[in-house]
């Protein structure tokens, strides 16, 4: 499978381990990624002028003939929203009057869709399994919004399905759809942390060994900011936050370096130990038989 890859700005900075693990997992699954040449920022949640936001997305989409894949939920939502707006011929004409390459239509996919597609078609032997691991699937806001994307914006199940495919156990996670507050973290820290900390507490109460995220901004809020929030709110969380690609990579038997796991703020060591113990027990069992 060959796809156009839109990394997004964060993949080159605070989301580096997402990019590293995305490339490793795609390579292991036989997905060829062709990075969109000279791509520009999608504008994220900070470009209030709608037509400018559509124009920024359209420039990226017009630069390839292939389906476009991204791992960032914000980029995914912005690219998808633009495709919907560009169905209006008036909007398309205006946008194309500025672009060097004409936008004629595009297909946008989130990395999860692509991983699921490949895993569902693969032999059972591909996956080493995450058996024994309890994971809180965190959707955040923009993976499923606006409507019409990867899954229902009210009651999605795609991440639970993926976790089961990997052999892990998805826990019931009440706040899985609540926004992490990331987009306003820089300017409204108190409000953003208030929101993010509730999500961490909820994941902790659910009995999960780790949280799985699908967006670099969610990761920043729940992982990089976790220690600061523990101090601020005076409560211990100590819950590893792993990217979907890091968990998929572990299930595929990839090494921690290939998955950028040394970059996570909250140490993923307890997750690795639990997996190792489960695999060790399995081997022992095999020997007895």
């Amino acid at each position: 499978m060959k796809l156009a890859y839109y990394p997004g700005c964060v993949a080159r900075a605070t989301g580096k381990e997402y990019e590293i693990s995305t490339r490793s997992v795609c390579s292991a699954l036989g997905i060829e990624l062709e990075e969109i040449d000279d791509w520009n920022c999608c504008g994220a949640t900070h470009v209030s002028n709608e037509l400018v936001a559509v124009g920024l997305a359209a420039r990226n989409l017009a630069r390839t003939e292939l389906p476009v894949m991204t791992g960032c939920s914000i980029c995914y939502s912005k690219l998808r929203s633009a495709v919907l707006r560009l169905e209006d011929n008036g909007v398309k004409r205006k946008v194309n009057s500025v672009l060097e390459r004409e936008y004629t239509g595009a297909e946008v996919k989130h990395l999860i869709e692509v991983i699921m597609e490949v895993l569902e078609g693969a032999d059972d032997g591909v996956i080493a399994s995450l058996e024994g691991l309890k994971v809180a699937p965190y959707y955040g806001c923009l993976l499923t919004r606006p409507c019409g994307g990867i899954d229902s914006p009210e009651n999605p199940a795609v991440l639970e399905k993926l976790l089961r495919t990997l052999g892990a156990e998805p826990v019931d996670f009440r706040l899985k759809m609540k926004c992490c507050g990331g987009p306003i973290f820089m300017t409204e820290e108190a409000a953003a942390s208030d929101t993010a900390f509730k999500i961490l507490e909820c994941a902790k109460e659910s009995g999960a060994d780790a949280i799985m995220v699908v967006c670099p901004l969610c990761h920043l809020m729940l992982d990089a900011n976790q220690h600061a929030m523990e101090k601020k709110f005076g409560a211990e969380i100590d819950l590893p936050v792993l990217y979907v690609t890091q968990l998929t990579g572990l299930a595929l038997g990839l090494g921690v370096e290939e998955l950028g796991m040394g970059m996570n703020s909250v140490s993923p060591a307890p997750v690795l130990e639990k997996l190792e113990a489960a695999r060790g027990a399995e081997e022992e069992e095999g020997e007895v038989c």
Binding site: C9, V10, A13, T14, G15, K16, E17, D38, W39, N40, C41, G43, A44, T45, H46, V47, S48, N49, E50, L51, V52, V54, G55, L56, R59, K94, V95, S97, V98, L99, E100, C141, L142, R145, P146, C147, P153, E154, M177, K178, C179, G181, G182, P183, I184, M186, T187, E188, E189, A191, A192, D194, T195, A224, N225, H227, A228, G262, M263, S265
Partner: protein
Amino acid sequence: MNEFTKEVLRLAGDEVKTCIQCGTCSASCPTAHLMDNSIRKLVKFVLEGMKDEALNSRSIWLCTSCLACTVRCPRGIRPMAVVSALKQIYEAEGMRNRDSIHEEIFNRHIKERGRVSEFFLSAEYMLRNPQSAAQIISFGAELIPRGKIDIEIRPDSIEGRDEVKRIFEELGGA
């Protein structure tokens, strides 16, 4: 209908007029409990032409753009688009606060270089809003040793920056 109402409807869609004030948007909003005026109330201000009340609401800047309101509105209104319209009018009126300064820097960086560098965005924001220094420095202390933020000397630009600039100039005025 006053000019302010007309401008918001032009930017956010005519369907805003059909709001029945049910409050589904506010009930779905993750930061509603921290807002002075709820999103439902902002829509009411817009429809009543209450420009000062709308533009001076802190709520505009507490919106995380999560679209929960937008997927749930029973009238098919996009309340988040109302917030975006209010941000644009706020800036066009020459009003400034720490939140609008951040938006202004973010947009300018894309316009000039095509991409956003988290390092330069944070650095410029810290200079323009020194109160944010402690937060940004402590976050940097967490991220830089992990190799997640490179200390850059000069920000990178994409080849197509002139095209991106035209997107802002020609589509932004429309």
